[in-house]
């Protein structure tokens, strides 16, 4: 018999990490939910757009004052210009042009380029902030459950405070104070969004702690770290994945809301920033407010579909 070093005893961590069969089983269950596949498809499209899109379109911040408020291709608007010399109002039809298929905004910026840039920002913020929040939540939840005593008490009381804080007000306050930059927005959403995850993981860890397989592993002399990393984390990993996928839409929405009220990163174009511009030109250029909203809506919808499908696929009690 070959000697196994600690951490190599592969059989002890079947759930998710190494079991291809289990992954296959979950994938099969997920596939039964059509809507979640549609969601996954759109997310894939967004990821590709976010990575490669900016290479294919023009600079989203480039302004061109000759082509203000150009409608999308296939649409046209009437524009009335008052000529001060002849004292006449001339009405011209402005039609969409193929070089700006989704139109331009009130500064002549290309809508397509801005939407592509927005996809990148939304995904970046959504994934990074959720990553920070879920990591912190898992870490603090497990810590709280395992250490117990005053650490647990202090952490959970702090969680209570954070959960009671008017969340959006806190976001606006911190972003305003420290200045609107992408890094601040990601950090703030990540550092304030871990509370739900921490509570859930803590309660899950508390119940897992008393299970026989953990007791057995402890009886065999496993250290706390080993129990946590080889038994506990793998067993809550499905919960972590579902939580992450269901909290991404909230994060994307939070970023869009911040940019919408004027607290977006001025150096980058996000859907919220475009909506902020569009809000002021509703009567002259409807598409500026419509297009980013549709993208935002479809993105959030896709993550909700996908997260819902994942939750059902991971839940042994749910019939899919």
């Amino acid at each position: 018999m070959t000697e196994l070093k600690p951490g190599q005893g592969g059989r002890s961590r079947i759930p998710l990490r190494i079991s291809h069969r289990l992954w296959g089983y979950y994938w099969e269950r997920l596939q039964k939910n059509r809507l979640s596949l549609v969601g996954l498809g759109f997310i894939g499209f967004l990821v590709l757009t976010g990575i490669f899109g900016p290479l294919l379109v023009q600079d989203p911040q480039k302004t061109d004052f000759n082509i203000l408020n150009l409608p999308p291709l296939g649409f046209s608007i009437q524009e009335s210009i008052y000529d001060i010399k002849t004292n006449e109002i001339t009405t011209t039809m402005i039609e969409g042009r193929p070089e700006h298929p989704l139109g331009t905004d009130s500064k002549g910026r290309d809508m397509l380029a801005m939407l592509v840039s927005g996809a990148r920002i939304s995904l970046l913020v959504g994934l990074l902030a959720t990553g920070i929040a879920i990591f912190l939540g898992t870490f603090l939840g497990v810590l709280s459950a395992f250490l117990g005593g005053w650490v647990d008490n202090a952490l959970m009381r702090f969680t209570d405070i954070m959960m009671t804080f008017p969340f959006f007000l806190l976001l606006v306050l911190i972003v305003f104070i420290f200045g609107p930059s992408l890094a601040i927005i990601v950090l703030v959403i990540g550092l304030t969004g871990w509370t739900g995850a921490a509570r859930l993981i803590r309660s899950e860890a508390l119940s897992l702690r008393t299970r026989d397989f953990i007791t057995a592993s402890k009886a065999l002399g496993a250290s706390d770290t080993r129990v946590i990393f080889n038994h506990l984390i793998p067993n809550v990993s499905s919960l972590i994945i579902v939580m992450a996928s269901l909290s991404i839409p909230g994060v994307i929405m939070a970023e869009a809301s911040l940019s919408f009220i004027g607290l977006g990163d001025p150096m980058s174009t996000s859907w919220g920033t475009i909506l902020n511009t569009g809000q002021h030109s509703l009567d002259s250029a409807w598409w500026v407010a419509v297009e980013p909203g549709i993208m935002l809506f479809l993105t959030v919808l896709s993550f909700n579909f996908f997260g819902d499908g994942l939750r059902d696929a991971f839940d042994p009690k749910a019939s899919v």
Binding site: F167, F176, I177, M253, F260, W286, V290, G293
Partner: protein, 320 residues
């Protein structure tokens, strides 16, 4: 029971104190000072900026160390003095007193709208499980959950105010609060704010109804020969409503400074969201702290009320 309530109230005060402290520190360590706005006006008049700054800081106690300022603020607060609003040039409580009603009315109407329609659609969906009605309702609720409320607001303005001209594009504050004209112009804000909540309630009601429809007491009720109407209305619904109370209350706490905040900004409703928004941008820290505290107390009060209502609705639950 009484000792439980007292304990909870004490705990609420501690949480509120924690939030107050965090907000205070955030506001006072920020790079900007509430004096900046004054300075801006004075600089235009050509006075000596530095001496004016010192005079103002001394007058409002802003030149003292932050600990002293904090203790001073706390002391005033305990005497019921909420401070002075720099940006509105009136006492904080006067400012809040003249604006809270707008937020309250909006949230109240949106919640009533969401509960009535949401629970209704949820029941309809559950009773017609796996029919076209059920599928249509599910799709509708998915859309409702995913649509950003502030964007829905923009789209409503675009269609009904800009293009169809059914409503005004701005919120008219000249009407008395509960007059018919005012209620009429609140239709769009209520739709924008309520749709997300409504969609959530549809889903919860549906799943809670389905859970209870499978229970044995429903079979018993049917076996007794009760009409389907009585079975659904009296036996299933009453049990399904229970968890819904928690969700509605929780929502109420979170929309106060989430959705309502943005809805007020989109429609220009001069509620507390608008007030706190302006206060943050003007560094008006007394207003920001006051609004944050009010929001916090509302959430804490709602939580406590939920738990107490629960013991009334479900006598099996007791707190000791």
């Amino acid at each position: 029971m009484r000792s439980y309530i007292i304990k909870r109230l004490l705990y609420s005060v501690i949480i509120a104190w924690g939030i107050l402290t965090i907000t205070f520190i955030l506001l006072r360590v920020g790079p900007t000072s509430p004096v900046d706005r004054y300075i801006l006006n004075i600089a235009a008049k050509g006075q000596d900026v530095e001496s004016v700054r010192q005079a103002i800081e001394a007058r409002y106690g802003l030149d003292k160390p932050i600990i002293e300022q904090y203790l001073l603020y706390m002391g005033n607060l305990l005497q019921g003095k909420w401070g002075w609003s720099f940006s509105a040039s009136q006492p904080v409580m006067e400012l809040i007193g003249s604006h809270w009603i707008y937020s309250f009315q909006l949230i109240l109407l949106a919640t009533i709208f969401a509960i009535i329609l949401g629970v209704g659609l949820g029941i309809l969906s559950a009773v017609n499980q796996n029919t076209k009605i059920d599928y249509a309702t599910s799709i509708f609720s998915f859309i409702g959950i995913s649509i950003p409320g502030f964007w829905l607001g923009l789209m409503l303005i675009l269609v009904f105010a800009v293009y169809l001209g059914v409503f005004k594009t701005f919120y008219d504050t000249s009407y008395p609060i509960w007059s018919l004209e005012n209620l009429r112009q609140l239709i769009m804000p209520v739709l924008a704010l309520g749709t997300g909540e409504l969609a959530g309630y549809v889903r919860y009601t549906r799943s809670a109804m389905l859970d209870n429809l499978r229970k044995e007491f429903v079979t018993t009720a049917r076996a007794k020969g009760l009409s389907e109407r009585t079975v659904i209305g009296k036996h299933v619904l009453r049990n399904a409503v229970l968890p819904l109370v928690t969700i509605i209350m929780f929502d109420l706490g979170s929309i106060v400074f989430g959705g309502a905040y943005l809805t007020e900004i989109v429609f220009g409703i001069p509620g507390l969201g608008q007030v706190s928004f302006n206060a943050i941008f003007a560094n008006d820290y007394a207003v920001v702290i006051a609004v944050t505290l009010i929001g916090t107390f509302m959430v804490l009060f709602i939580n406590l009320a939920t738990d107490l209502i629960y013991t009334y609705l479900d006598p099996r639950i007791r707190y000791d």
